[in-house]
Symmetry: C2
């Protein structure tokens, strides 16, 4: 099953996207026959010359550019944009997954319109994964839906748990709710109502976690509404940059680099680096959609292909469909 790559999306497209695809070939993450490239023919051409393996990928032209700041819904009126051409390739079955570092809003809108929701799913959610103290931590939603209801959050819990189990390989993911206190009575209206739903949910609910516990290993999947989740994601990013900027000077010294402190510092900055994960899946749509950070470089792109290949292989949408079907026929949680 091919992965459709939007070569035009992102701040450093098409260069970093195409070089990232080539890097994924070098690293053995995917083969050229696994990739369907979508881009503006003239603008991608010179990178084909630099990385000839790219020519072996299937290619679909997209002649209409979508700017990063453009309104998300506008992309729906741009059938020749790379996002729409790539999404159509997934819809038609020419590709089995979609990756873009283009506007997140545009990717979400296009996925929702072109692929549609998985049956019984009310809203899609973006799940992002960080390396926590004892393993991967998945947070969702980080910005697909900023008008979440308790029912939406319950669906995120179900989908996030299946993602953590089937794609990340956790045996029994513990799901928590992001709150501003651990106690049951704490929180705003949305969180309090959601807590009631979670207590009868078909996953292991371990209660509330606070922002300072995210990386502590208390939970494997943390559910929140998209506004808060996006802020959290960006705060992680900002603190990571802050730390990176503070140490990059001293780290240029080879002795410092090789010291135990240098190793520890590089390890921790790497853990907070979105480029390590490459992309975040949009869960709840009828197709596999990976959304990358707009600033993605070739390393992020290569890693996104690696994760997408796992994502395709795990067939998490089949699991989600089954869970929601079961819940719907039981009339229970997650429906």
């Amino acid at each position: 099953m091919k992965i459709a790559v939007d070569a035009m999306g992102g701040d450093h497209a098409p260069q970093e996207i195409l070089c990232g695809v080539a890097r994924a070939f070098d690293k053995g993450f995917v083969r050229p026959s696994d990739v369907l490239l979508v881009g503006h023919p003239e603008r991608v051409e010179r990178w084909f010359a630099e990385a000839p393996l790219l020519r072996q990928c299937e290619f679909r032209p997209a002649t209409d550019d979508v700017a990063m700041g453009e309104s998300a819904v506008k992309v729906l009126r741009r059938p020749q944009s790379s996002i729409m051409v790539a999404m159509d390739a997934v819809k038609s079955g020419a590709a089995g997954a979609f990756i873009s570092a283009g506007s997140t809003g545009a990717c979400v809108a296009a996925a929702w319109r072109v692929l549609g929701p998985l049956k019984n799913v009310d809203r899609p959610g973006i799940a992002v994964t960080f390396e926590g103290a004892n393993g991967p931590l998945t947070i969702l939603d980080v910005g697909a839906n900023i008008h979440a209801t308790p029912e939406h959050l319950l669906q995120y819990g179900v989908m996030g748990e299946l993602f953590s189990r089937n794609v990340l390989g956790l045996a029994k993911p513990r799901v928590a709710l992001l709150n501003i206190g651990e106690e049951e009575e704490k929180g705003n209206k949305l969180v309090k109502s959601t807590r009631d739903l979670f207590s009868t949910a078909p996953f292991t609910f371990v209660g509330n976690v606070e922002g300072n516990q995210l990386l502590s290993g208390k939970a494997d999947v943390v559910v929140c509404e998209g506004f808060v989740g996006n802020v959290v994601l960006k705060v992680f990013e900002g603190v990571g940059h802050y730390f990176h900027d503070a140490v990059k000077g001293p780290l240029q010294d080879p002795a410092a680099q090789q010291s135990p402190l240098g190793h520890a510092v590089r390890k921790v900055t790497q853990k907070l680096d979105y480029a390590e994960y490459g992309g975040a899946p949009l869960l709840g749509v009828d197709g596999l959609v990976m959304i990358m950070h707009g600033r993605s470089d070739r390393r992020a792109m290569a890693n996104a292909l690696r994760v997408s290949a796992q994502f395709v292989k795990a067939d998490v949408n089949r699991q989600i469909r089954a869970a929601f079907d079961a819940a719907a026929s039981a009339g229970g949680a997650g429906a």
Copy 2:
């Protein structure tokens, strides 16, 4: 003007609170005659023996303990709790400021009930200060009010700007709104409505900032509603701990400590450490209230006294009162 210190509040009370007060004397931040201690007589006695200067402080007994997890409103029915005794000392004029590391919710509830709001202020807000790229960054509200309206956020903008100007000494603080995109059309309903109000506000409004821009120096005061603000505060704390834990082993080596990388690492972890600021002011109440982290140690307590002394001296409430009076008579923003 004395500062009333709740000796019983916090996870490490009374030991760390009292040792912190003694430390503030040693450091010259305040003198014993500047402090009014409130605590359980028997439980504070042994620390008086260890730090005899504490005996020179005025002392008021409080015989009823409030547990950290207890519901915030319960404290209002506990007139003999240290929070209520200390708050009453401020109300009566025996003290000019209040500091506690006890339950944040209890401190907010007690301050609102006992001291009441400043005229024309609808909700109090907790302002926390971090060291950003080019100077102090103040974020509010970080948890006093989780049912904020656009009008509340406007008031936080006014109060935060006055705090930044009068207490932190910034000449012309730039105020921003925390959002999930820089573009005007981005954000949830609350943020969008607030943006309209901010654009005619009596402060320098520099637009939206995202979570990754908080420490970048783009704004000096960032306004958000209390749920999001509390999550941000806790995420900073959690990431700070994560860094600290990752580097503390290698940093035990004296050579690593003294290396340029060691200096950079310690500097950045220090910047993310709430103990450096000691406390966060509760703005909008008719009295000076500083709320400390529950885990505060003696260093945090000493720093909170230092900041409180500045806070008292700057008389920020007079500024806030004047701004809200002016706005009320103009019928304009901030009213």
